[in-house]
């Protein structure tokens, strides 16, 4: 009887100790393992970058510009390098629109079809309007992603480059 009681006590103790050990080690280990869920490990240049003067852009005809930026990948910081491309469309004397060249459907690079005057994605033939980037045809769930533009009084065009999640109708930053 005493022996049986002692046995029960020992089993309970060993179970309790195992739980404590597993918790003290397990919680930090699992939290650290799952950390990527709460962190943007890869980030690019923030803020606006100059893309030349508005006077250099033709009105109504898109011009593609490379984006040079600094990437931070976990602990690393790159030297400035090519990280993407964007389309600039000058509308009038003072207004410029900018679009990411990443197709919102499956992240292919979107080109400009001069014959038809539309933005065209070569991968799955999505077409986007030159006027405002909305979907004219094809599988893309949303129009081209516009980027924040600011034209300074001296005519310098500043664009903030951003990346968005592809494949959804909502435009959300990566």
């Amino acid at each position: 009887m005493v022996e049986q009681k002692r046995r029960t006590l020992l089993i309970a103790a060993s179970g309790a100790i195992s739980v404590v050990i597993a918790g003290v080690v397990g919680v930090p280990v699992i939290r650290a393992f799952l950390d990527p869920l709460w962190r943007r490990s890869i980030v690019g240049t923030d803020g606006a970058t100059a893309y030349g003067n508005i006077s250099e852009l033709p009105i109504g005809k898109p011009v593609e510009r490379g984006v040079v930026g600094v990437i931070r990948d976990a602990w690393d910081r790159s030297d400035p390098k090519s990280i993407g491309a964007l389309w600039l469309v000058r509308r009038d004397a003072k207004k410029v629109d900018a679009y990411s060249n990443v197709c919102p459907h499956a992240a292919c690079p979107v080109g400009y079809d001069e014959k038809r005057s539309v933005f065209a994605c070569p991968c799955h033939t999505s077409d986007f309007a030159l006027a405002d980037g909305h979907v004219l045809g094809g599988p893309s769930p949303r129009g081209l992603d516009s980027l924040p533009v600011e034209v300074k009084p001296d005519g310098t065009v500043f664009v903030t480059y951003q990346r968005f999640i592809a494949g959804t109708s909502a435009k959300r930053e990566v």
Partner: protein, 579 residues
């Protein structure tokens, strides 16, 4: 119960569980038997924390430090997990020694348990190999320099030393191939080796059972024998919990494992091995350099042979330590000698001011490195984080170009030129006007001609304010210029827009343009003239170098926000986690 029957049918697990758990423990559960299980727990802990760290680690001389930095300071609980791994390795060494002494005392090395003892001796050396390969991996100052000492000692072995050193290093020096080798051994080869020997060790232990205390009569042992589960297991778990509690306490008290500044082959870091190799380092002090490798090898071989031979020599039929005192004394001498040689240098270093200064400098470097690393590790590698800010670049230039003659902001440097520690502060300027011939000003230089001032303290204060106002450090006092003329300063020192006089022109004194002028052309007529013996840095330092020096030397007032910016475009800093 159906599932269990199905499982039993397919696997036969009940028999395995039974043999694992119902193993009889001779004489019943005992605290004397917990050490082996404690070591097993530590091994599992090292494996779990090690695998997690491997998920955040890159073995490369440019990347390793950054990856360890990021795991320690950015990943939540990273500092804690790395701390458990770091101090867990020390706990393992301690417990291994305790386990071996307990086994010796109880006579568990003797027939028929020799194989258990021998495999245990191998496990000790495999564990030390883990330690040796582990601490290089962060590629910080400590790992780099301590490993350099070890591989150099290997290189002193006669005939084959150079080859061995090259193979271990993966080349003619410490670099990427050293890291990949040490990493590969640490995470693939050694764990496999340890696990294989461990299986054999546990098998041999199971075959002959635990060794009960020599004084217990046979009848009592037999009467009290119980299965492994649940008695001994509970003792083992309780002991493991005690170890874990101790580890958690140390990890929290020490804020995790230390991480020094990135490895810098150009620094004068004081290399000290981890504590478990200190005795060897101490022993080597009595050995002439070229024989170090041979000495270590012979010493290790003798120690291994001694440990392996113990059960062969100790053939006494009685297990009591009294009858076996010679063997125990020999083992105690070996252990005691090693313990003495471990503690002796610790105590000596603790009371050595030179060591303390070096240690504090290393800690300061490490702290600065963490701040700079938060801006990102540059593509050139972790040691280039010092190029991350203008101030840190300035410090770098200062150390190489100015420090031989001038003391800098941290009070370190030569004394043959003015002390720049408090450059352009009110105290510094007042002291300069009061007596420029003091050694901390121009006393040790070839410049002479300006006598100590005879102005009253009130006038001295006004003059100080006036001189500081020339470089825009404070607003001009109303009577400043008049006093400057009345006390005769203007007789030697020209002001803005005037031709240079005998002494340095003070028109922009203390501004960044003035400092740049002094650095680039100290011998110009409007600076210190032909009397100056300071080398002119025009053509040697770039404009950026000079700007960086200004950021480092001049108080922030003169250089607003601009130069405090990081060298690269501003980026969102990763969330910083400090333990």
């Amino acid at each position: 119960m159906k599932f269990r029957d199905w499982l039993e049918d397919r696997t036969g697990y009940r028999k395995i569980m039974k043999s694992a758990l119902d193993e009889p423990v001779i004489g019943g559960a005992s605290w004397a038997y917990v050490f082996g299980s404690g070591l097993l727990f530590l091994f599992v802990l090292q494996a779990v924390t090690g695998v997690l760290m491997a998920l955040y680690y890159t073995p490369s001389s440019r990347e390793s430090w950054g990856s360890v930095y990021s795991f320690t300071h950015v990943v939540p609980f990273g500092w804690f997990v790395r701390g458990l791994h770091h101090f867990g390795s020390s706990a393992m060494v301690v417990l291994l020694v305790v386990h071996m002494f307990q086994a010796l005392l109880y006579g568990a090395d003797r027939a028929p348990r020799e194989l258990g003892w021998w495999t245990g001796v191998f496990l000790l050396f495999v564990s030390l190999a883990f330690c040796l390969t582990g601490y290089l991996l962060p590629w910080d100052q400590k790992g780099y320099w301590a490993t350099g000492v070890v591989t150099s000692i290997m290189g002193t072995l006669p005939l084959v030393g150079r080859w061995i050193q090259h193979v271990v290093q993966g080349g003619n020096g410490l670099g990427n191939l050293t890291l990949t080798r040490f990493f590969g051994f640490h995470v693939f080869f050694l764990p496999t080796l340890l696990l294989s020997i461990l299986v054999a060790h546990i098998y041999f232990f199971r075959r002959h059972g635990a060794t009960p205390r020599w004084s217990r009569p046979k009848a009592e042992l037999e009467a009290k024998t119980r299965p492994f589960w649940p008695g001994q297991i509970t003792y083992d778990l309780a002991f493991s919990l005690l170890i874990l509690a101790g580890l958690v306490w140390v990890v929290i008290a020490k804020h995790g494992a230390p991480l020094d500044a990135p490895a810098d082959p150009a620094s004068n870091y004081l290399a000290r091995p981890e504590w478990y190799f200190l005795w060897l380092f101490e022993l080597l002090k009595i050995v002439p350099g070229r024989w170090e490798g041979t000495f270590v090898l012979v010493f290790m071989l003798v120690a291994v042979c001694f440990l392996l031979a113990l059960p062969l020599v100790d053939r006494n039929a009685v297990g009591s330590p009294r009858r076996r005192w010679r063997h125990l004394l020999a083992a105690a001498c070996l252990g005691g000698g090693i313990a003495f040689l471990t503690f002796h240098p610790m105590v000596r270093d603790a009371s050595d001011p030179a060591v303390r200064v070096q240690k504090e400098a290393a800690e300061k470097d490490a702290k600065e490195a963490m701040t700079l690393a938060a801006l990102g590790i540059p593509p050139g590698g972790a040691d280039l984080i010092y190029m991350n800010t203008s101030r840190s670049r300035g410090a770098h230039v200062f150390v190489h170009e100015c420090q031989p003659c001038h003391k800098g902001p941290d009070g370190i440097g030569g004394a043959s030129a003015p002390d720049l520690q408090h450059l352009m502060t009110t105290e510094w300027v007042r002291g300069l006007i009061a007596d420029p011939t003091k050694p901390e000003y121009f006393g040790a230089t070839a410049l002479a001609g300006m006598p100590p001032t005879t102005a009253s303290p009130a006038d001295l204060a006004t003059l100080t304010s006036y001189v500081r106002s020339l470089g825009g450090r404070e607003s001009e006092p109303p009577t400043g210029k008049k006093l400057f003329e009345d006390t005769g300063c203007h007789g030697c020192h020209a002001l803005s827009g005037e031709d240079p006089l005998v002494g340095p022109s003070l028109g922009d004194y203390g501004s960044s343009a003035w400092l740049a002028g002094v650095i680039l052309h100290p011998d110009a007529a409007q600076r210190y003239g032909a009397q100056s013996t300071m080398p002119a840095y025009a053509g040697k330092l770039t404009d950026e170098d000079v700007t960086d020096l200004e950021t480092y030397l001049l108080p922030a007032v003169a250089k607003p926000a601009k130069s405090a910016q990081p060298a690269q475009p501003a980026l969102p800093a990763q969330k910083e986690k400090q333990p």
